[in-house]
């Protein structure tokens, strides 16, 4: 039967406290690892790294702030999606990129315009 969590920690601490008297200090550094290793059991899966990744982000800089009346942030980054190749892609990119980015297109799920909704004139 396991002792409570605190008691279990206490037992480990007691063992560690006694280690200097039993073994030399260089060994004490690996002792916790070894103690842990002796308790490992289980069906494990390890070292599952992928050569690909989910992408990464660069951090925004805080900008160059001056003690005047101007309050500013750095320019807002754009994250344009790649539209599928096909007939008319250039027209879509030209006309649908004027008032807003084309992410409005790729964000939409496949759907039929509900009845009564005006059809896009873009």
């Amino acid at each position: 039967m396991w002792a409570s969590q605190n008691e279990s920690h206490g037992t480990q601490r007691k063992l560690l406290d006694e280690l200097p008297g039993r073994i030399s200090w260089p060994l004490a550094g690996v002792a916790p690892l070894c103690l842990a290793a002796t308790t490992l059991r289980g069906d494990l899966q390890r070292s599952d790294y992928s050569q690909s990744n989910l992408g990464n982000l660069k951090q925004p800089t805080p900008g160059n702030l001056q003690a005047g009346a101007i309050y500013s942030v750095t320019a807002y980054p754009l994250y344009p999606p790649q539209l599928e190749p096909g007939q008319g892609r250039e027209l879509v990119e030209a006309y649908c990129n004027t008032c807003h980015g084309v992410r409005y297109i790729t964000m939409q799920p496949p759907f039929r315009p509900p009845p009564g909704m005006p059809k896009s004139k873009k």
Binding site: A37, L40, D43, Y49, L57, A69, T106, F111, P114, P115
Partner: protein, 445 residues
């Protein structure tokens, strides 16, 4: 790679085993600088290195035509000034969703607060020597106020209030509707500080015969003047009691507004959907006639029916009378556990979340672990007033392994209870169906 740790090597002949690099117990000790046999290692495991079997999976770029099954929308995580990484809906104008884990607390951090702009020319720089908030239109004494005026000439007031996009959870709609495909993260709660709108109107002196007050912002679009694509304008009836509760806020959570959330000042309309919370205010205009601009007359309207619900057939038949969207219906969310991990049976966990309503304080939150068949009361957290997030929690010890369908529903002080039926309207507004979360419990013995 998968193998049984009681064996010192992976299963023979497997592709993984062939590509693995095994370090024996003896070689591991050598690496550690320890002579073999110094310490009994018992069942020390082999350390392994290996090569990837597959690419790391990611969410699809979009969901549909079924409802989005995820809590948040499915866009990429992106980086923006003054913001922690948020979920991208669109980049021009900027629309960003707050990830689920930021809703474990009553107040949403400024740098995680969601962002929604309508027009692409949004402020990145404001000169406060030139910026003025004008109180104009049908008033006795037009005012032109600097931020310093707002900070020093009027009595400040603070108010906790939830700001929620009208289209929050739009990606739940069936059939799907156009618009920003928000998950549940187009909302946030903050302590707003500013000047009461009624104090500003009183200082300017509203003339008799005035009917509405209109809010003008700094953002612009590329459309011609007078068109919806040029300017975003919203109005409230002067007879609406919410005028007395509204603030012109210059601070949220004790700091200036982030540029993307409406620096230097924005409107706060407690209990109302965020379409009225105009950001980067430049003018407050008293009107003698009702506002008929696109953003009031055409956009942000809901069917004049219970819950704003209708059907595609009724819309097609032209039978749907609409009214401007207004107060937020009662909602609640299960935030943790979020379903990304499996819970061992018999492990005590605390199921946690938030609730709010535009109609008043939350008085009850109920939870179910059997797909809304039976309910029990959750414990409510600290109450910050009628328009704030209210946290809740419910201790749970799952006895057996299995798949548990959790559900949560809230009740507000007006007696409004979250229903378990979906809503449909052509613009994708006012979703408040009971939320569910599957929690998987595994064997632990």
């Amino acid at each position: 790679m998968r193998f049984n740790s009681r064996e010192l090597s992976p299963p023979q002949g497997s592709e993984i085993a062939k590509r693995s690099i095994n370090l024996s117990r003896r070689s591991l000790l050598r690496l550690l600088g320890v002579g073999s046999g110094t310490i009994a290692l018992g069942h020390l495991l082999p350390a392994q290195a290996g090569f990837a079997r597959q690419a790391a999976p990611h969410l699809p770029d979009f969901s549909g035509p079924a409802a989005n099954p995820y809590w948040n929308s499915v866009g990429p995580i992106v980086s923006y000034p003054q913001k922690v990484p948020l979920v991208l809906l669109t980049d021009r104008p900027v629309q960003l969703e707050t990830p689920r884990n930021f809703f474990l607390t009553s107040f949403t951090p400024n740098d995680a607060f969601y962002v929604r702009w309508h027009l692409d020319e949004i402020p990145t720089e404001v000169n406060l020597e030139q910026w003025r908030l004008r109180i104009e239109g049908n008033v006795e004494h037009p005012l032109s106020l600097s931020l310093s005026d707002l900070l020093t000439r009027f009595t400040s007031a603070s108010l906790p209030a939830v700001n929620q996009c009208s289209g929050n959870s739009r990606s739940r709609f069936q059939s799907r509707v156009p618009g920003g495909q928000w998950g549940n993260g187009a909302m946030g709660n903050a302590m707003w500080t500013g000047v009461k709108l009624s104090d500003l109107l009183q200082a300017a002196g509203v003339k008799p015969g005035s009917v509405q007050v209109q809010f003008v912002a700094l953002d612009r679009g590329k459309g011609p003047q007078g068109m919806a694509s040029h300017e975003f304008l919203k109005s409230l009836d002067l007879s609406n009691p919410v005028i007395e509760e509204s603030l012109v806020a210059f601070a949220m959570n004790g700091e200036q507004l982030p540029m993307l959330n409406g620096f230097p000042a924005r409107l706060v309309v407690p209990g109302y959907f965020a379409t009225y919370w105009v950001k980067s205010l430049s003018a407050i205009r008293v009107l003698a006639k009702p506002d008929e601009n696109f953003w009031m007359k055409t956009a942000y309207r809901i069917p004049d029916t219970p819950r704003g619900n209708t059907t595609p057939d009724d819309v097609k038949a032209g039978q749907v009378k609409t009214i401007p969207i207004h107060r937020m219906p009662v909602r609640s969310f299960l935030i943790a556990p979020d379903g990304t991990g499996k819970i061992p049976a018999q492990m005590p966990v605390t199921v946690r979340g938030i609730a709010f309503s535009g109609y008043g304080r939350i008085v009850k939150v109920e939870v179910s672990d059997d797909n809304a068949k039976s309910w029990r009361d959750a414990k409510l957290g600290e109450n910050y007033g009628p328009y704030s997030f209210c946290t809740w929690e419910s201790p749970w010890v799952p006895k057996n392994a299995g798949r548990y369908q959790w559900a949560v529903r809230a009740t507000d002080e007006k007696g409004n209870v979250q229903p378990d039926e979906a809503v449909w309207n052509p613009r994708g507004y006012v979703w408040n169906k009971i939320e569910r979360q599957e929690i998987v419990v595994g064997i632990a013995k």
